[in-house]
């Protein structure tokens, strides 16, 4: 089967990766690596290809015949006879990226929406670096106080003398 070699500098957790094609090659599935039962695993296959130094820069393999899957290259072994054995592990994000983005989901954290960086919402965030062990304390006066202060207390009458007596 024909396999394609790609190079990507994206984080493994990137959903839709950017690939730079390196080359293609004919490969056969190898049953000798990472298994003891001569079993070929769909999600962790190994491929035998003719050696090519270009393949050392590859990060991914795309195999159309295996469900159009992208695979991480986990290891490369040089064999005798000009062969390379390439061990792989399926990259589900790259493989199903275009479908994942259209599936209904519940998002619990995000960094950007509509091209704008996220802002805190009503949902409490335990990861957020909010220091609640120290507070900035400020004071703001009401515009009016009913009490006399300072010099006003000395000038204005503030003493109630209650005496006996009454009537008008």
């Amino acid at each position: 089967m024909q396999i394609s070699f790609y190079k990507s500098s994206d984080d493994p957790k990137k959903l839709a990766k950017t690939f730079e094609k390196i080359g293609t090659g004919e490969a056969t599935l190898s049953a000798t690596v990472n298994n003891t039962n001569n079993t070929i695993y769909l999600l962790r296959p190994s491929f035998l290809v003719a050696s090519n130094s270009l393949y050392f820069t590859a990060t991914h393999i795309y195999v159309d015949d295996m469900g159009k899957r992208y695979y991480y290259i986990t290891d490369i072994a040089l064999l005798t006879g000009g062969k390379m054995e390439i061990s792989c592990s399926v990259d589900v994000l790259a493989t199903y990226a275009d479908k994942i983005v259209d599936r209904p989901c519940t998002v619990t954290r995000y960094s950007h929406k509509g091209g704008k960086i996220a802002t805190p919402t009503y949902i409490p965030d335990s990861k957020y670096p909010l220091d609640t062990t120290r507070y900035n304390v400020t004071a703001q006066n009401f515009s009016y106080t009913p009490f006399l202060t300072g010099a006003a207390a000395l000038i204005n009458p503030c003493y109630i003398l209650t005496t006996m007596g009454g009537g008008t």
Partner: protein
């Protein structure tokens, strides 16, 4: 909700109501039910629903014509029925029944002049004579009475009608010498609140609403601007309550006929002049005992005598009393002994607007504004929540945000009258009613003078001034004063320090303590006073999010300590502070409150304290001292007199006795004389001593209390404790922020770091293991 055409006629046969320009299309006109339609032939006149067997007597009307409900806030959802019963005397009315509904279905319409329509009316009923029969069994509808002429609107083009509230008011005259109504006036709300009208006519008797409708086709609201020019004409109004009414429940007439459910629906009608009542209404006329609005076309409601009354308490001023009715018109006073003088113009405006807003239509304050564009600042639109109006409304451009802006007819409103939405009965819009800021002065019970620091020194000096008060000669001469005087210090009840503003009232008078005139003048002291200290807006410093909820707020309240404020209740609102001070005890209460969206005060917290410091005052008890001195002086004088004469006499005798040189009895007698003289001399000395050592009676009044509170900051304030936000953009880019969003990643336009807790992977041809890997990776966070 669609109108039931089986009951109200086919839509295509609904009758147009009103006078329009020729160019106005049918779809933009008010329509009336066509009860008389039968088959394909359209009748030339509208017949009443009863005669056409479309409306069954004693059953509620088909409420499909109701496009939206009135919430509990509307007075028509809270009706009390008053009237005479066999148990009451002829001159008294009493509460008979009461309806309270969370929602009320209703219909606008035309025609109809009656309020309640009981089973029957005796047109010659003598309201003063209870022995006559009150009820008949003749359905009044079949008599072709006013109610039968009522026809409901089945189509109301929302953007082509405007409600205008009117105020029926009285200047307090009520009726003239002939017993005819007098002193009434009718203003639209805007005019009522203009100039001195409100002050001249402070008694609000009724609130009515007129529906003006668009007569031209030139007004076709532009989607963006709401122009061009409009032309509204006065319309109907009649409002029918499409509910079972309880006003006759449990009552029987003199024939012992049960009156349960004797009337449905209630018409609050004012059909002829086009303005219907939506709140207050009053009794009928002398010839019947039913409740209905008087039908004079050019005058206002003239409520008289008998029958039932509706209490309208949403404006908080109407008071219905069990009033002894001497004349028919006095019942009006009983019903509507209301005054809005305590309400400001703004409060009246808001109260009336809230009532009109319950109908969910466009409305204005004054008739002069009825032609304003629908997005004008003078135009308001009632807000409906699940088809129920609760008194909220929008103004101006905000009207465009409401669903009604995009509707052609009221029946596009999503409301099913047969299945009204659940209403939270705890969502009543009650609030805290503060009395207006008041100052309470009490005089004649005791004397309370407000003195300044200088006056206090004068007082103290006067209480200790020897020369001023020590007047023994005057005490001797003035017998009445001797017996009727008092120690100045004994006349003092207390001396207190209270550093509070604006607590004096009245005119200044001389401060006296018995005979002692301090020589200063002082005003009296208010018993209590309230102070509005302004408000502070609680601003979400960190934005409208969870971080702002970490802020803590404390109120520092002089003399009352500190109180933590519930942030959730005040965030984004103005927090007001009011102090109430009692100058007798010094107790003060600080009240922190907000004003909710419906203009009601909601108290958040209160704190109590004491702002008075007792000051002990001491002084000489002058009159007691004067009395003591007088007594001592008189005793001393007498003793001196006795001693002078007594010793001389004794010495004379002694000398004679000694001359004999005989120390026998005469000598002894002389010694006795000496001892007597000595005794007299000693008593005099003692008296001298007593006089010169007369103790000064002193007294101390009052205790002392702490003054430390007076040494702290006397300005109330809010303290804001804000956490420190260390969040940065780099943190957000690497960790994201918490949220709950539902949708697709593409639809939500999410990029960057994203965590997904749940995802529906149906439709993805991946193995189970792969799907599990996908879920795991998404939950752990990916970069989109």
């Amino acid at each position: 909700m669609q109108v039931n055409e089986f009951v109200y006629g086919l839509k295509t046969n609904w009758a147009e109501y009103g006078i329009y320009d020729e160019a106005v299309p049918a779809a933009k006109k008010l329509k009336l039910a066509c009860f008389g339609f039968d088959g394909e032939t359209k009748l030339t006149e509208i017949k009443d629903g009863k005669s056409e067997n479309k409306l069954i007597y004693e059953e509620a009307w088909d409420n499909s014509i109701c496009y939206a409900a009135l919430g509990n806030f509307c007075p028509l959802s809270n009706i009390k029925y008053y009237g005479r019963t066999p148990e009451t005397t002829a001159d008294h009315i009493a509460l008979i029944n009461q309806d309270q509904r969370l929602t009320t279905n209703y219909a606008f319409g035309v025609g109809g002049s009656a309020g309640f329509m009981p089973i029957g009316i005796k047109s010659d009923y003598d309201w003063q004579n209870w022995t006559q029969e009150r009820w008949t069994n003749t359905p009044s509808w079949s008599n072709g009475s006013g109610l039968a002429q009522f026809s409901p609107f089945t189509a109301i083009p929302i953007k082509r009608v405007v409600l205008i509230p009117y105020i029926v008011c009285n200047n307090g005259t009520w009726f003239d010498e002939n017993g005819d109504p007098s002193g009434f006036a009718l203003f639209d709300l805007k005019t009522y609140l203009t100039g001195t009208n409100k002050a001249d006519f402070p008694y609000i008797c009724q609130i009515r609403v007129e529906m003006a409708y668009e007569t031209t086709n030139s007004y076709d609201p532009d989607a963006e601007t709401g122009t061009p020019t409009r032309s509204q004409s006065a319309g109907m109004n009649t409002i029918a309550i499409l509910e079972n009414l309880s006003y006759g429940d449990g009552l029987t007439d003199f024939n012992n006929s049960e009156m349960d459910n004797i009337f449905k629906p209630l018409i609050t009608a004012r059909g002829y002049s086009g303005i219907s009542d939506i709140g207050l209404t009053i009794a009928g006329n002398l010839s019947s005992n039913i409740l209905y609005v008087a039908v004079n076309t050019n005058t206002f409601v003239c409520p008289v005598a008998s029958g039932f009354g509706l209490e309208f308490d949403r404006i908080n001023n109407v008071k219905i009393e069990d009033y002894e009715i001497q004349t028919p018109y006095q019942s009006y006073q009983a019903y509507f002994n209301c005054s809005v003088s305590a309400m400001s113009k703004e409060e009246v405006q808001e109260a009336v607007r809230s009532i009109v807003a319950c109908f969910g239509l466009f409305f204005v304050d004054g008739a002069a504004d009825k032609n304003e564009p629908l997005d004008s600042d003078l135009m308001m639109l009632g807000t409906l929540v699940d088809g129920v109006g609760n008194g909220d409304y929008t103004t101006g451009q905000d009207n465009k945000n409401q669903d009604q802006w995009n509707m052609d007819d009221v029946h596009e409103i999503d409301y099913d009258p047969s299945n009204p939405p659940p209403i939270d009965p705890n969502a009543y819009n009650d609030g805290f009613d503060f009395p207006a800021a008041f100052s309470l002065g009490i005089s004649g019970i005791n004397n309370r003078y407000l003195l300044n620091a200088t006056n206090i020194l004068t007082l103290s000096n006067a209480l200790w001034d020897f020369t001023k008060n020590l007047q023994p000669e005057e005490v001797i001469d003035n017998i009445s004063q001797t017996f009727l005087t008092s120690n100045p210090i004994d006349l003092i009840v207390s001396l207190q320090y209270i550093p509070v503003k604006d607590i004096e009232f009245g005119t200044a008078s001389a401060v006296k303590l018995g005979r002692l005139d301090l020589g200063v003048s002082a005003k009296s002291v208010l018993a209590a006073n309230t102070y509005e200290c302004g408000s502070i807006e609680i601003f979400p410093t960190f934005g409208d999010n969870w971080i702002s909820k970490q802020i803590r707020i404390f109120a520092y309240l002089p003399f009352c300590g500190t109180a933590e404020i519930d942030l959730e209740a005040v965030m984004g609102k103005e927090l007001y502070l009011r102090y109430v001070v009692d100058t007798y005890t010094g107790s003060c209460t600080a009240v922190l409150y907000i004003v909710n969206a419906k203009g009601k005060n909601i108290v958040i917290t209160t704190a109590d304290g004491n702002c008075i410091t007792d000051i002990p005052i001491t002084g000489i008890q002058w009159e007691t001292l004067n009395a003591n001195l007088y007594n001592a002086y008189q005793t001393n004088k007498q003793l001196k007199l006795n001693t002078t004469f007594g010793v001389a006499k004794a010495l004379t005798g002694f000398g004679s006795a000694l001359g004999a040189g005989d120390l026998s009895g005469a000598a002894l007698a002389g010694l006795d004389v000496f001892s007597g003289a000595s005794a007299a001399f000693t008593a005099e000395k003692i008296s001298d001593y007593n006089l010169s050592h007369t103790q000064i009676p002193m007294r101390s009044i009052g205790g002392s209390s702490g003054i430390t509170s007076n040494l702290l900051d006397m300005s109330p304030k809010l303290l804001f404790y804000r956490p420190i936000d260390n969040g940065t953009d780099s943190f957000i880019e690497s960790e994201g922020l918490s949220c709950i969003l539902n949708g697709t990643l593409s639809g939500l336009q999410l990029t960057g770091y994203t965590e997904i807790s749940k995802i529906d992977l149906n439709g993805i041809a991946a193995t189970a293991a792969e799907k599990e890997m996908i879920r795991s990776l998404l939950a752990g966070g990916i970069y989109v």
